[in-house]
């Protein structure tokens, strides 16, 4: 029978869900929020079950009715569960103003969108009714009940579009008060109509795509229409391949002639920028005016012709840094490094920018569960043990016009934050590290970096787990979710700029529960020796996963699969859709025929679906069948190596001159305000509101958390830590430090310096918390994620990319930190309309470096908080601070820079000395450090304040003589830290630092006085001047209450 179920909370209980919604409305449309006097959220379920009314009533009551909290409205089905008035009127009685003016907005998913709540609803009915319900259907939604006499239909539509729904995946209807009271919506016919049904008119027919005699212009149009994202030279290469006589003969024998749409689609996915990184592998001619050479790049000679930036500056860097702890780099889904003799650590950081621009929640959720699958598909399958997340968005108080099809940054951040929250929390994987970067240029495309780390036993049943090997005859199994139309063309689509024509099918919603079940099952199957090899189904779907894995089979590789055997969400998918769909929560697993029965039985017991699609072969061909009929036969060698190399040109005009500052700013009058506005800059201000909504401790490994916390009578006060430390094994005291570095603002000066800053900051962050450095066995590895404005056809953006790569390489080599994995995203531009005019918004060149280091014993872990009054405060390093390119410049404006602004520059030789000491290579007094914090965004005083906040302590800081006070306090640079030690240890420490040639300055001490006191002697006279700010005021500025959510 059909049934609609509305769940209502009794009016005497608070309804936090509607409070949050109202808060979101206040932030987005304060003028509309004023007209809403009251609102309540009612979850809805629509179900169709093959069961009788008598059976249904007790089941609904048992599943849905919480007698303490609420009521269940079902029309006439279960009046006893519906309150005094038998329905929605009972909820309305809770509104403060009676008689009020009520409205409701009903939200539903569009047909075909993943509805995880609906799936659980059916499972609950199966549990309660005690049988499988194969013909049942369900959907979930919400009814938002609002009251306000001034509300207009127009306002309600704004609420629906901007707050309640994402119209790409959801629809809404406005329901008037009369309609609400009439109860029509519970009638079986209505429920039947409301249950979404996917109508597809596809067939098993394939289409043939003849490229013969087609003009270049036509090729280009074809590629655009079909969302192949293939260039004319690439299509020409494909045409040439298929017209080869030998290829034609072989195809004829298989019953094939002109290329099929399936074949071109497989090639398009495999050759997409997303999968093949064409720009990173391009041949680049680089021009640079040597007269304008930047001083910081003096030691690096960038070649005039670069044959693949990837080979030269990424793989090439790691090749120059042989380490015995590198197990597998650039080969697998993730980099693999040794943790100890028994276990390895796998690491990967992904970006999910385009999907997150269209549907922030779904995009980010899909991103996080996707990168966890990378770890699950790494080697023989690793267990994810931590996540990281870095978001770059436009400022939340952005007031300008939002171009069509884009969303306000507040909505973007709210969505991506919730996506990662649900993806990480529900998967039971702690989110241990991250960052948030604001810049208006991220309005066009937010950047969503999601990282995952896993643990992998190095040997399982005598097999080395990093080796990917398949034998001919092994079965090709698709495991986990089913295939639908969602996510078709994700890989090719993300290889294009975002514009008004972006396909809606590229949006998908992740399903953490299905993935958790699959992931538990795969790790169990792995330990039972049932898996030969596996990889995830991400970009490109089966075409990529099977196409990639086919290479590991025998000598020539190959696979033969019948995609009509794959389980689908609904019938009617076309063959090419089955092959390229990126429907989530799927892995492709090679299983030996002997192990197959055990594998499928176990899957069944774990509630995980398996489709046996075919076998791996050693024919050198990737063959795809539909219902036994061949629809694609691709030569693996051509598929993976036939892509013509891209050619690009880059030209660097040289560094512009630093801005001229105003020398009249008075430090004694303006510095305290400058510090407060820096602390309140969103790039620096507290991210506690966000961190606390992520589970950062599940799995019980947490040692250094994102925040250091102090318990007081009035709740916790927190300050930031530099990086996270986890202790991944219960039987080992060793730990892992995970940190990141990102500094896109330096790209405006030189992306070379930007990249070096990212490397330096990431390394400093892991050193702060206790990471090791400098010994041959010291594990320190980097992951690079480039997010660029499209450099193709743009000489400047190409030059930026080249410079960033060479800058990164020099820094990584200097610090002996190999790159082990990475990812690039090259199309971070928006082209659309704003106020009727065409507009292009491009992100600033952005490089995220994630660093991972081993901590020999977690007892050596360090946090950033000042511990005890009387402790001495030191600056380590800090020889080159500059205000140009600093957060100070961003906050105050370039015209407001005092003095003679310059940019902080690295000195890698000095860096090695400082880091070697901190990381335990030399010296022995590092253990005296009671706190350590890197000096980065905002400069030295911001770093000092961040140490003071949690414990409410004070600090006294004396600016050394003969330094520029502005530059010293607010300048940013490289290799610098604020450290504290017990005053009694100061002498021993200073002695060792002097011996080792580590630059340091004693700045002052931690005090009991709850304020920051800054002293200095101006150059012009010998007087001592000072100013101070209470710690409480600093904390209020840093928390930036009311800004976030």
């Amino acid at each position: 029978m059909f049934c609609r179920i509305e769940l209502a909370t009794r009016p005497e209980f608070a309804d936090p869900a509607s409070d949050l919604l109202l808060r979101r409305l206040q932030l987005a449309h304060p003028e509309i929020a004023k007209c809403v006097r009251w609102m309540r959220v009612l979850p809805i379920a629509w179900v169709e079950l093959p069961s009788s009314r008598e059976e249904m009533i007790p089941a609904v009551v048992e599943i849905f009715w919480d007698r303490v909290l609420g009521w269940v409205f079902t029309g006439n089905l279960i009046p006893s569960a519906a309150g005094k008035h038998g329905g929605i009127l009972d909820v309305m009685t809770g509104a403060p103003h009676r008689p009020g003016k009520f409205w409701a907005l009903e939200r539903r998913f569009r047909p075909g969108v993943t509805d995880t709540v609906a799936r659980t609803t059916l499972e609950a009915f199966e549990i309660v009714l005690g049988r499988k319900l194969s013909d049942a259907r369900a959907a979930s939604g919400t009814l938002l009940l609002l009251e306000g006499p001034q509300l207009t239909e127009e306002m309600l539509a704004r609420i629906a579009r901007d707050i309640l729904c994402n119209e790409l995946i959801e629809t809404w209807t406005l329901v008037s008060e009369q309609e609400l009271q009439r109860n029509d919506r519970f009638h079986a016919e209505r429920v039947k109509r409301d249950l979404p049904k996917v109508l597809t008119r596809g067939s098993a027919e394939i289409q043939h795509v003849s490229l013969e005699g087609v003009s270049d212009a036509q090729l280009e149009r074809l590629s655009r229409e079909k969302v192949w994202a293939l260039s004319v030279p690439e299509l020409r290469a494909i045409r040439e391949h298929f017209s080869n006589a030998k290829v034609q003969d072989a195809r004829k024998a298989k019953g094939l002639s002109t290329p099929t749409d399936v074949e071109i689609e497989v090639l398009a996915q495999t050759w997409s920028e997303h999968c093949k990184h064409k720009i990173f592998n391009a041949k680049i001619r680089y021009f640079e005016d040597t007269k304008a050479k930047a001083e910081w790049a003096r030691d690096v000679a960038i070649p005039k012709v670069i044959n693949s930036l990837f080979d030269q500056t990424i793989v090439g860097t790691t090749e120059l840094l042989p380490k015995n702890w590198l197990i597998s780099v650039f080969k697998d889904n993730a980099g693999i490094i040794a943790f100890d003799e028994e276990d390895a650590i796998c690491l990967k950081v992904e970006t999910h920018n385009t999907p997150s621009a269209l549907d922030p929640y779904g995009g980010a959720l899909t991103g996080i569960v996707g990168v966890n699958r990378d770890i699950l598909g790494c080697g023989l399958g690793a267990k994810p043990i931590f996540n990281t997340d870095v978001f770059c968005v436009a400022p939340l108080d952005y007031q300008g016009v939002i171009p069509e099809r884009l969303m306000h940054p507040r909505r973007i951040l709210d969505g991506i934050r919730r996506g990662v929250e649900d993806g990480g929390n529900q998967s039971g994987i702690p989110t241990i590290n991250g960052a948030l970067v604001f810049d208006e240029r991220y309005l066009g495309k937010p950047l969503v970096f999601v990282g995952s780390g896993g643990i992998l036993p190095r040997v399982i049943e005598g097999r080395r787990t990093e080796v990917k090997e398949i034998r001919p005859g092994d079965r090709v199994c698709m495991v986990g979710g089913r295939i639908g139309k969602d996510g078709i063309h994700g890989a090719t689509f993300s290889s294009l700029a975002l514009d008004e024509l972006s396909p809606l099918s590229a949006v998908q919603l992740g399903d953490p529960l299905t993935q958790k079940r699959m992931s538990d099952f795969l790790l169990e199957a792995r330990d039972l020796g049932l898996i030969r090899c596996l990889t995830d189904n991400g970009a490109g779907g089966l075409s990529s996963s099977v196409g990639e894995m086919a290479r590991f089979c025998g000598e020539k590789g190959g696979a033969r699969v019948d995609v009509s055997l794959a389980k689908t969400k609904y019938p009617g998918l076309k063959p090419f859709e089955l092959v390229v769909s990126e429907s989530q929560e799927r892995m492709t697993v090679a299983v030996s025929p002997d192990a197959l029965p055990l594998f499928t039985t176990l899957a069944d017991r774990r509630g995980v679906e398996v489709s046996d699609l075919g076998e791996f072969v050693d024919s050198g061909m990737f063959e795809i069948l539909v219902e036994g009929k061949m629809v694609a036969a691709l030569d693996l060698k051509f598929l993976h190596e036939g892509l013509p190399q891209l050619e690009m040109e880059g030209e660097w005009p040289g560094v512009v001159d630093p801005p001229k500052g105003i020398s009249t700013r008075r430090f004694e009058f303006e510095a305290a305000d400058a510090l407060l506005s820096l602390l309140g800059s969103p790039n620096i201000a507290s991210k506690e509101w966000m961190i606390r909504q992520y589970d950062h401790e599940v799995q019980g490994m947490s040692v250094i958390k994102p925040l250091h916390t102090v318990f007081t009578a009035h709740g916790a006060n927190s300050g930031p830590n530099d990086a996270a430390v986890i202790k991944p094994k219960t039987n080992s005291s060793a730990g892992l430090a995970v940190g990141c570095g990102i500094n896109p603002k330096l790209s405006d000066i030189d992306p070379f310096l930007m990249a070096q800053s990212a490397v330096d900051e990431a390394v400093r962050n892991v050193l702060c918390v206790g990471g090791e450095f400098g010994r041959p066995e010291s594990v320190l590895a980097l992951i690079d994620n480039f997010c660029w404005p499209d450099p193709q056809g743009d000489r400047l953006k190409t030059a930026w990319l080249v410079r960033a790569c060479y800058g990164m390489q020099q820094a990584a080599l200097a610090l002996s930190a190999p790159l082990i994995s990475g990812k690039d995203s090259m199309k971070n531009d928006f082209r659309g309309q704003c106020d009727g005019k065409p507009v292009t918004i491009s992100v600033p060149p952005t490089l995220l470096i994630t660093a991972i280091a081993k901590v020999r014993d977690v007892a050596q872990g360090r946090t950033a908080d000042f511990k005890t009054p009387g402790d001495a405060i030191y600056l380590l390093g800090g020889k080159s601070f500059g205000l140009w390119g600093s957060e100070f410049e961003r906050v105050q404006g370039v015209s407001q820079l005092p003095g003679f602004p310059r940019v902080g520059v690295p000195n890698w030789e000095e860096a090695r000395r400082i880091y070697g000491w901190l990381g335990g290579e030399v010296g022995k007094e590092q253990s005296l450090l009671r706190s350590l914090h890197d000096v980065s965004d905002g400069g030295l005083l911001v770093a000092a304040v961040e140490g003071m906040l949690a414990r409410g302590l004070g600090a006294y800081i004396k600016i050394p003589e003969a330094t520029d006070a502005w530059e010293f306090c607010f300048g940013e640079g490289f290799h610098s830290f604020i450290a504290t030690v017990a005053d009694s240890d100061a002498e021993i420490l200073e002695m060792e630092l002097r011996q080792l040639g580590i630059p340091f300055k004693r700045l002052g001490s931690v005090t009991q006085r709850e304020k920051l006191e800054v002293m200095w002697s101006p150059k012009e006279d010998q007087s001592v001047k000072s100013w101070s700010v209470p710690t409480k005021q600093l904390r209020v500025a840093w928390q930036k209450g009311g800004y976030w959510e």
Binding site: T9, E12, F13, A14, P16, A17, D19, L20, E62, I63, F64, D66, R67, V68, L69, T116, V117, T120, T121, A124, I127, V128, G130, E421, N425, Q426, S427, G428, P512, L513, K516, R517, D520, R605, R606, G607, R692, Q693, Y694, D695, E697, V698, Q699, G700, S702, V703, I704, K705, L707, T709, V710, F711, G715, K727, V858, A859, G861, R862, T863, K867
Partner: protein, 256 residues
Amino acid sequence: MSDSKPRVLVLAGDGINCESETAHAFSLAGFMPQIRHINDLVSERVSLDQLSGTFSVLALPGGFSFADHLTSGKVLALKIQHQLGWNLGLFADRGGLVLGVCNGFQALIRMGTFGKEISITQNASGRFINAWTKVSPSGTRCVWLKGVGSMDLPIRHGEGRIVFDQTRKTEVWGKMVRLGRNCLTYEDNPNGSDESLAGLCDSSGRIFGLMPHPEAFVRWSSHPEWTLQAGRASAPGQGAQLFENAFQEVRRGSNI
């Protein structure tokens, strides 16, 4: 040797995710934990007799069973009730102990273990919270909390607000105090629970559920302020006492 160790059944599957650290906390206290997938218990039709015969403790760990759909712990509770059919009260009467942490606690509440007049719902803030909080035992009923003082423990939940039937609030609270079920409270009610409740036990004191995670503080280095006393990093954490209490209780039971 290991044969003589009391056994703990640690439930897993369907989105439960704290099974490993829960098992570890039990093994540190001297138990022999066994992580079992709920589907295996269902398909093996493990009866209450078998449960009592093999295991001294049943642990329902934290996690997101069924992704918290249809309210937290609900579908897991239905699955335990319908597909395993264990009467936990009877298990406790026979000397068994039950622990439900976070999502496991939510499932126990949905099963009516602590009375039908209470429920658990979204935090007052509407948001998931991961923070450390101070909790104090009250009363002497709960065997898990015997001799335990105030503790620092992390909470990590979106639905931790314990609520009473509002029409009979005083009566519900009175009964709860009389039966000694209100065994654990927050010092600064982070989720807005009625009476600041952080944990509950049944009338026997043997079935215990709580929102904070004791298994997440069995080593001092898990505490957010451990670097203040770096020498103490590897000392036991305050959550360990609960598991040790359970061990003592089981030992005592088997000696009688």
